[in-house]
């Protein structure tokens, strides 16, 4: 040890193995290029998020006031004056109807999978849910048309209405809630459920007093993700609800159609009218606000569950 300590730095002792400094430099250079490319990829990928928001606010800012949100569209072409109240009310209709359909179904099947399901049933049902999530929304629209809206042949004959549109959106929402409920329940430490069952609780009592409470965060995540997904959907509504510039008079049959934000944006951007394009952008801001508010809620729930459960 003493000899080693005596060697001075500037003596430049022979290295134990030859270090090819050029090689190391080259390696570091390549690594630097990789860092640069990765950062560029991220910047280009993140660019549309900011540019979409910027563009929408920059074009639509003059309409971003309470009047726009709280009045019905009027004028010619329809929407040139007034606001988007019909679409906001319509979205409430659609989300409520879809949730009434999808929430019990999704939570129920999630509970079944984690309480009673055998391994094979679980694998099969999970695959089924994933497949349903993968089906393009325009295909769901056609299914919804033939099941709910059509006036001829089999089906419910609801016409182009909030009920038909909402239930079609419910089809889209169900697998999302089912998957996330099952995941949330599977994340509960198994001691919780087994402890309750070992104390002589029935599965229903275990569900009521343990599972629902422990999985609440995950279940809400599923519901909010489902809502976030369906308020952006346009394609299924094209064939099941379309659009209404006024207030609905019912939820089925003639007069049962409702407005919808995504649909309103789609229709306005199709019109060859500058003012409607601007209003489409203003409505996009409102839609994005809803979506990012739900997103924020999701993250809050996630944070709280992780912290307190």
């Amino acid at each position: 040890m003493a000899e080693l300590a005596n060697i001075k730095k500037d003596d430049d002792p022979m290295p134990v193995f030859p270090i090819n400094r050029g090689y190391i430099k080259r390696k570091k250079f390549y690594n630097g290029i990789a860092v640069f490319l990765a950062v560029m990829a991220f910047i280009i990928g993140a660019f549309p998020v900011f540019h979409i928001i910027y563009k929408a606010v920059a074009l639509g800012h003059e309409y971003l006031n309470w009047r726009f949100i709280s009045t019905l569209p009027t004028g010619f072409p329809i929407g040139a004056q007034g606001g988007i109240l019909n679409a906001i009310i319509g979205d409430v209709y659609l989300v409520v109807i879809a949730s009434i359909f999808a929430v019990p179904l999704g939570i129920g099947s999630g509970l079944y999978l984690s309480l009673f399901g055998k391994k094979r049933t679980n694998t099969f049902l999970r695959l089924l849910n994933e497949l349903m999530i993968g089906i393009p929304s325009v295909v769901w629209g056609i299914v919804g048309f033939y099941v709910f809206s059509t006036n001829a042949g089999l089906g419910f004959h609801f016409g182009f209405s909030a009920l038909a549109g909402g239930l079609t959106l419910g089809f889209i929402m169900t697998p999302i809630i089912a998957l996330l409920t099952e995941q949330a329940i599977n994340r509960i430490p198994s001691g919780y459920i087994e402890g309750a069952l070992a104390m002589g609780a029935t599965k229903w009592q275990a569900t009521k007093s343990v599972i629902i409470k422990a999985a609440l965060g995950g279940i809400f995540t599923g519901i909010l993700l489902g809502i976030m997904n369906i308020i952006g959907q346009t394609a299924p509504l094209l064939f099941t609800n379309y659009y209404n510039t006024g207030m609905p008079t019912g939820i089925t049959g003639p007069g049962g159609a409702v407005g919808d934000l995504a649909m309103l944006i789609f229709i306005y951007i199709h019109e060859p009218s500058k003012i409607l394009h601007v209003k489409a952008e203003a409505a996009s801001v409102v839609l994005l606000c809803f979506i990012f508010a739900i997103d924020l809620g999701l993250r809050l729930i996630n944070y709280l569950t992780r912290k307190f459960l």
Binding site: I52, L128, I269, H277
Partner: protein
Amino acid sequence: MFNLKYKDDLYKFILSIFVLSVISVFLIAVAVILFYSYPAIIRYGFSFLWVKEWNPPKEVFGALTFLAGTFMVTFLALLFAIPFSFGIGIFLQEYCPLFLRGIFTVIIEMLAGIPSVVFGVWGVLTIVPWLRESVEPFFDRHFSSIPFLKVEENIGYGILAASIVVAFMILPIISSITKDSLESVPKIAKDGALAMGATRLDVIKDVSLPYALNGIYGGIILGFGRAVGETIAVVLLIGNQAIVPKSLFSVGYTISAVLANTFTFAVISPIYASAEVELALILLAVSLIINIVGRNILNKVIGGRFNRSQFGGG
């Protein structure tokens, strides 16, 4: 005791009704599409796939034009999206400083949350003018001799505009799955390589990527599934003309765009409606196959964990 046991059986019975309803939603979807496309399948057979003409009054239906458009948009979107999502996944998982990783991941997830109609509006008001005023004149001046890059009409709408926007829409899916796959690489393998003096790039190239490659393939396959079915943004951007696209800049039509534009008129005539539903059947079949393959790969690599970037607006 009879009481308690009875209650649990009742509970199981009620829950199994819910499960059966979920299964029946899927079965109804498949059955409706098969039932209503049956007349067209019988009448046109496989010629539906390679006949070019789509003529409702003459009742001649062939999907080749739309298949070509769908294929081109999907292929180009994947071509644009794969390198970038690859880079984003690597950046987020390997290079990004830890305190920024959370917020940067949120930004990419926000991209997944933006509805496709908003993407479409952004494309119409941003991408289309940019293509029309900068990109297309440039290509017209310098590359007009190459057939694939020929600018036929300088309007901005077309295959390229649609595929750029679709590429941004599938970016979060592929990049989040790339990130998750890279995350599943055992830390000890990476640390070992780093301790041997490897640079980060060496670790990515020789340790992480070979391990994560299957997952990345799964992500690409799921991205393909999303791109094939993408409707609203494509309707707004592709130009909606039933011609087989010959160049990057030409207009076209995709299966999903045809459905969105004409299905409500088609239901007047049974055979026309049936032909349209057969288009939907193609989309359904592709999405089912793609998802079975992609999920199988992903379940092996990242254990079926569901990333929220995989649900997007439609």
